[in-house]
């Protein structure tokens, strides 16, 4: 569990985070959503200490991160896995070496065990066979997946993912969402995900924080988001006509008006009536 209170952060004149407080729960996928430039990345970087917040408190499972010395932070960080928005792979190393790096640095496994573990995680992100390639030789989406593999290879207690789905096709995107969801449950991780992907929001959004212009605008889960009356949130989430329709359908369904096996004609007609 990561709790943060009253986080403020500005760059010069520009206030990026304005008094944000929230609790990221363990064993759940905690999503931070919001328009581009709303401060998601900055918030995530404040949580892990890559940016120092101007004020506010961050508490990791009861331990105050804000007052920690550099040494204590180093210890805690060995339990953190992070995927950066730009992947941040080590470009002097191959895919395999990248994923193996945390194991080499902190693990004390034999080299055959390490290789086995690396292949296992590369397999889970659908990346078998790219072991010997360099980051410059793989696609953007593949880099993302290598980044995820590197972040989870040590089974971290806290997992931070900055847009794990951007640049991925819908199918791979689902695989990644499922993977993150699975390991979050399996190892009771506290997972924090920045995303704009509506699929992910609906699939794995168990605790959603909607940011608007550096402030917490709305929180809830993927069920509640559909029924939310918050205009800003609705504008953001159901931006397209297609999504708007999908939302209406879900609302009808939830009101018990539509059962799955009814035929389409009837559904739409009833939909109009309700509206």
């Amino acid at each position: 569990m990561i709790e943060f209170k009253n986080i403020k952060k500005s760059f010069g004149e520009k206030v990026v985070l304005n008094d944000v407080s929230h609790i990221m729960e363990s064993g759940k996928c905690n999503l931070i959503i919001g328009t581009s430039g709303s401060g998601k990345t900055v918030l995530q970087k404040c949580l892990v200490g890559l940016f120092e917040p101007d004020s506010g408190e961050i508490i990791y499972d009861g331990v105050n991160f804000t007052d920690m010395t550099e040494d204590l932070r180093k210890g805690l960080r060995q339990q953190i896995g992070m995927l950066f928005q730009g992947s941040a792979l080590f470009d002097s190393m191959t895919v395999e070496e990248n994923v193996m790096f945390p194991l080499d640095m902190f693990g004390n496994m034999s080299s055959s065990k390490k290789r086995k573990r690396v292949n296992e995680v590369l397999d889970r992100v659908n990346l078998e066979g790219a072991n010997k390639k360099f980051p410059a030789e793989i696609s953007g989406g593949m880099k993302k997946r290598v980044g995820i593999a590197r972040a989870i290879v040590l089974n971290p207690k806290y997992l931070f993912c900055d847009e794990p789905n951007s640049g991925l096709d819908p199918q791979t995107s689902m695989v990644i969402d499922k993977l993150i969801h699975e390991i979050t449950k399996e190892f009771n991780m506290t997972t924090v995900i920045n995303t704009h992907d509506m699929n992910s929001v609906m699939e794995i959004g168990e605790n959603i924080l909607y940011m608007f212009e550096g402030q917490k605008e709305w929180t809830g889960n993927n069920e509640e988001i559909i029924f939310s009356k918050n205009d800003k949130l609705n504008e953001f989430i159901f931006a397209s006509k297609f999504l708007q329709d999908a939302k209406d359908m879900r609302m009808l369904e939830a009101k018990g008006i539509i059962a799955d096996d009814r035929d389409m004609e009837e559904m739409l007609k009833k939909g109009e009536e309700i509206k």
Binding site: R77, F84, A88
Partner: protein, 247 residues
Amino acid sequence: MTFFTDFGRYLLMLKGMFSRPENMKMYWKEFMHQCNDIGIGSFGIVSIISVFIGAVSAVQTAYQLVSPLIPLETIGTVVRDTVILEFAPTLICIVLAGVVGSKIASELGNMRVSEQIDALEIMGINTKAYLILPKIIAAMITIPMLVIISMVLGIWGGRLAAVASGIVSTDTFDRGLLHGFIPYNVTFALIKAYTFAFIISSIPAYFGYHVKGGALEIGRSSTKSVVVSCIVLLFADYALSQLLLSH
């Protein structure tokens, strides 16, 4: 004002390099990698420059020796002393400031800009210790070696040129070479080499590690680091000569 901020941050960076390694084996691997990059990587250019510097100093000394009162063997003595005292340590290190310095600055700058340094930080690694210290130690071990090699090649180049152009015979040159040799000069040259090695590795590391922005800034910081390390190097050269050579 920025000078003091920069200097303060530079000192903090040096202080931050010392902490217990997370995994000695990985640090050793990185150190070896850097020795290879800095030492072996610069060997070619150092050799070529040394031979030519020696050759040129032999020919030019001969050109200036017009008085019949000065024996020809002086050429050997002059070549030896200029190469050992100034050319091998200072000139080679200025060249290395360009070769090694820009490499260090752009490598670290690229890692900073593409968030690779942040990624290491997040894993709980002291990036100053893991990325900068091995570079500085590798430079301080390999660069003095390169300077010694440069001394030998420089003198050899001078001898070759002097003999090939028919100015002196091998025997005369060698007599001059051995005449009044002061071993302290070599010690002095090595003290310079160690100092310069530290300068041309730590200053570019500072500029590279603290890059902000994008690809453009990487280039800028690498140029700046070469300029600054050259100036500091020449200043240190002057200070050391004053300190250690004045009677």
